[in-house]
């Protein structure tokens, strides 16, 4: 019995005894920017996300490494006074939707957040925005699939998060949320546990080096309390039972255009990060979230980060918001998720490892571990199997419709005949006794 479980135990030990992820610099930067709400009155959430999008683009992350999820399109909403434009400031200096304007009038962005971008790398920036997931594609499922990279082989590369263990990822989310959940499009919600488990799978599949998680929603800080995977710094806009507020409304657009926490994030990033060489630390950014500015208690979680608070605060902001073009000589790590993108076997392997490890932590019984590991595989296999429902046989139905829809007289005769026959049967029955 013990012999049988030995490989699993060994594997689990191996996983655990792998050297901690090196402090070495990352080689790529990715950003996942998610707005989760629809509808005109949630204009600001789109503006929040687009502002962040602009900023990371300005600081050098290429479009190919930004995953942008927007459930609604405010620019084309008929209620929009400025058709085809989205603004994040009532000064309307910067149209987040069309960056050509911005280039034409570099001073136009005086009040607008992100206006400073015009003088930096902005000039070389390709115009327009590239939305990777839009409308009904923005779901909890697609978000989690994106993080854990579980897609059918046909899924386009541009809509994938092609990260590895040397990638730094910035994840920014905004929408309507509550205690430990964030609503997706009024239809579903993602819980803090879902998110934490997704990050754990990313960690197991070596899909990130370090991860900065930012969230602007009501009770935002409850979203990161469940995280348990190393290498994550998380920050949110408000504590439990606190609302996050919008910053101001534009009286011509008729709605609030940006949220406070995001506004001051952008404020900081615009003021302090003028070039890709700026040496600004995360700690400074986090200290910028004072109650006076945000009107709620923004929070930061450092404990998952190797080296704790000091190390996290000491990271450069550009480690997440900017881009590095490091080239890493191929060092194949066993079980690397990228080796078989779309290969469910590797997914199952990772799942099995997580399950095994968690089980081992929970109890020492090796037999149990074996059983659950197997169960995990079995469940996974079943899930992967595509269930094709038997095609409904509609032919008979049509036959019937035709016969039932026939002439009334025929039907009546049939009915009368059947009644007569039944009466006969009845009569025979009563004689029979």
């Amino acid at each position: 019995m013990r012999l049988l479980t030995l490989p699993t135990a060994l594997l689990a030990t191996l996983t655990l005894t792998l050297p901690p992820l090196s402090d070495a610099a990352h080689t790529s930067n990715w950003a996942v920017l998610v707005s989760t709400s629809r509808f005109w009155f949630n204009y600001r959430h789109m503006a929040n996300t687009l502002s962040l999008y602009r900023t990371v683009k300005r600081l050098g992350i290429p479009d190919s490494q930004i995953i942008l999820m927007l459930p609604d399109d405010m620019a084309c909403n008929p209620r929009n006074t400025f058709a085809g434009s989205v603004f994040n400031d009532k000064g309307r200096g910067l149209d987040l939707y069309d960056q050509k304007k911005d280039i034409e009038s570099p001073d136009g962005g005086g009040e607008g957040m992100g206006g400073a971008g015009a003088e930096g790398e902005g000039q070389s920036m390709p115009a327009g925005i590239e939305v990777d997931y839009r409308g009904n594609e923005v779901t909890v499922e697609s978000f989690i699939r994106l993080l854990t990279d579980r897609w059918p082989a046909s899924h386009p590369t541009s809509k994938r998060l092609m990260t590895d263990d040397r990638s730094n990822i910035l994840i920014y989310m905004t929408g309507h949320g509550g205690d430990s959940f964030l609503k997706f499009q009024d239809a579903e919600e993602i819980s803090s546990h879902d998110l934490a488990d997704a990050f754990e799978q990313m960690y197991e599949k070596k899909r990130y080096h370090e991860l900065l998680f930012m969230i602007d929603t009501c009770q935002a800080n409850t979203m990161y309390t469940e995280f348990y995977s190393p290498g994550i710094v998380a920050t949110g806009s408000s504590e439990k039972d606190q609302s996050s507020y919008s910053h101001h409304a534009d009286q011509d657009v008729g709605v609030a255009v940006i949220d406070r926490w995001t506004y001051f994030n952008l404020d900081f990033l615009e003021m302090r990060l003028n070039s890709t060489a700026s040496d600004v630390r995360l700690g400074e950014l986090f200290d910028f979230y004072t109650f006076d500015r945000v009107h709620s208690d923004a929070g930061v979680r450092y404990d998952l980060f190797p080296g704790g608070e000091d190390a996290a605060r000491n990271r450069r902001v550009l480690d997440f918001f900017g881009n590095v073009q490091g080239v890493d000589v191929e060092t194949q790590v066993p079980g690397d998720g990228r080796g078989g993108v779309g290969d469910w076997r590797s997914d199952l392997e990772v799942l099995r490892r997580i399950a095994a490890r968690q089980e081992r932590e929970a109890m020492e019984d090796m037999n149990e571990t074996q059983r659950v590991g197997d169960a995990g595989v079995a469940v996974g296999e079943r899930a992967v199997e595509q269930i094709i429902g038997p095609a409904a046989d509609l032919k008979g139905g049509r036959d019937m419709a035709a016969s039932a829809g026939g002439e009334g007289w025929l039907k009546k005769t049939l009915g009368a005949a059947s009644l007569l026959a039944l009466g006969g049967a009845w009569f025979v029955g009563s004689k029979l006794r």
Partner: protein, 364 residues
């Protein structure tokens, strides 16, 4: 006026039935649009009895006369034939009723019991008339020693009864197949009842529950609901061995309340069938809450359509309003049902101990 008074005094039943028939005919003559109106009412119309919802029930069109009414008629026929100890026709009638909608099959055990009871009584009478030469010809209720050996064997009778039922059902299936082009009528009639595909609000308890249900639990709870309904049939037979008619009527009540597509028609048919237990009325009204229950029924009959209107047409109410009323409706019916159970049991008890008549019971 004098003539009227006389008629009323002499034959109140004639007046009642004539009036009822007159109203029915008048309604049909004066309001030709009434059937259309009624089929649109949520309380009355369900996929099982409505011709308008044609997708699921188009097979039923062929039996153009076999609406829900005929199910009731068949159940009533079955009961009456069982009372006359005509096992074959009783079973055939149950088969007919069960053929058009599933739940009358649950009436099979109590009706079989009733039939058996009557057969026993008849054979006992036969024996007695031959022995005592009609000394106590006064039908049933005397306590005379009956030779048990002369009674029909219960097992044998039961088997024969069930066999008749199965034969009749098989005949009906074959017959239906004959006039219909395929076997697809079987799923379309029975799966509609078993799987509850149509969750349009009605007077029953199922629709709201299954709207709220997570899909994963759906089949489980469908099973639970059906088993719950089924679970009454045999216990009633066991407990009311001495009053099989009560078992039949009570089972009809259970069906009227708990059936998947409940409607006011079924409840009305059951309330009418309660008259078969007329001898219990006095016990129920003396010891139980008949009037409050009927008042509650009245309230819910008025409030139900009002809340349905508020929800569907005025848009100012919601589904919970209407569902609350269907709950009240079912509750009132159930109170009537439990009162009847109480009265039947009490009746039995009082027959054993006449000295306890009219006294209050107290739990010790």
């Amino acid at each position: 006026m004098e003539a009227l008074t006389k008629v009323y005094r002499d034959q109140p039943k004639t007046v009642l039935f004539t009036a009822a028939a007159a109203i029915r005919i008048l309604a049909a003559l004066l309001f030709p649009a009434l059937p259309d109106l009624l089929t649109l009412r949520a309380e009355l119309s369900t996929p099982v009895n409505s011709f308008k919802r044609s997708e699921t029930v188009q097979y039923r069109k062929v039996y153009s006369s076999m609406s829900e009414d005929s199910t009731h008629t068949m159940a009533a026929y079955s009961t009456s034939h069982a009372c006359q100890a005509q096992a074959t026709t009783a079973a055939f009638a149950v088969a007919l009723a069960g053929h058009t909608s599933l739940h009358p099959v649950m009436l099979l055990p109590p009706i079989g019991l009733l039939c058996y009871d009557r057969v026993c009584v008849q054979s006992a009478e036969k024996g007695q008339t031959s022995e005592t030469d009609g000394a106590i010809a006064d039908s049933t209720k005397t306590n005379v020693a009956v030779d048990l050996r002369s009674q029909p064997q219960p097992l044998q009778f039961g088997l024969r009864f069930v066999a008749t039922f199965i034969c009749a059902e098989a005949f009906l299936f074959g017959f239906s197949r004959l006039i219909l082009p395929s076997w697809r009528f079987i799923p379309s009639i029975y799966m509609t009842l078993l799987e509850l595909p149509d969750l349009t609000p009605n007077a029953g308890l199922w629709w709201y529950f299954f709207i709220e249900m997570f899909d994963a639990f759906r089949s489980f709870f469908l099973g639970v609901f059906w088993l719950h309904m089924l679970s009454y049939s045999v216990p009633f037979c066991l407990r009311f061995q001495r009053q099989p008619l009560a078992a039949v009527v009570l089972m009809m009540g259970i069906i009227a309340v708990f059936e998947p597509y409940a409607n006011a028609g079924d409840a009305g048919a059951w309330l009418s069938c309660l008259c078969l237990l007329g001898h219990l009325f006095e016990l129920t009204s003396l010891h139980r809450y008949t009037f409050p229950a009927i008042a509650t029924l009245l309230y819910s009959t008025l409030l139900g359509p009002a809340f349905h209107h508020l929800w569907i047409y005025a848009g100012s109410g919601n589904a919970n309003f209407f569902y609350a009323i269907t709950l009240v409706w079912s509750l009132a019916l159930l109170i009537l049902l439990t009162d009847t159970v109480y009265a039947a049991l009490r009746d039995e008890w009082e027959a054993e101990r006449p000295e306890g008549k009219g006294k209050e019971i107290r739990q010790m």
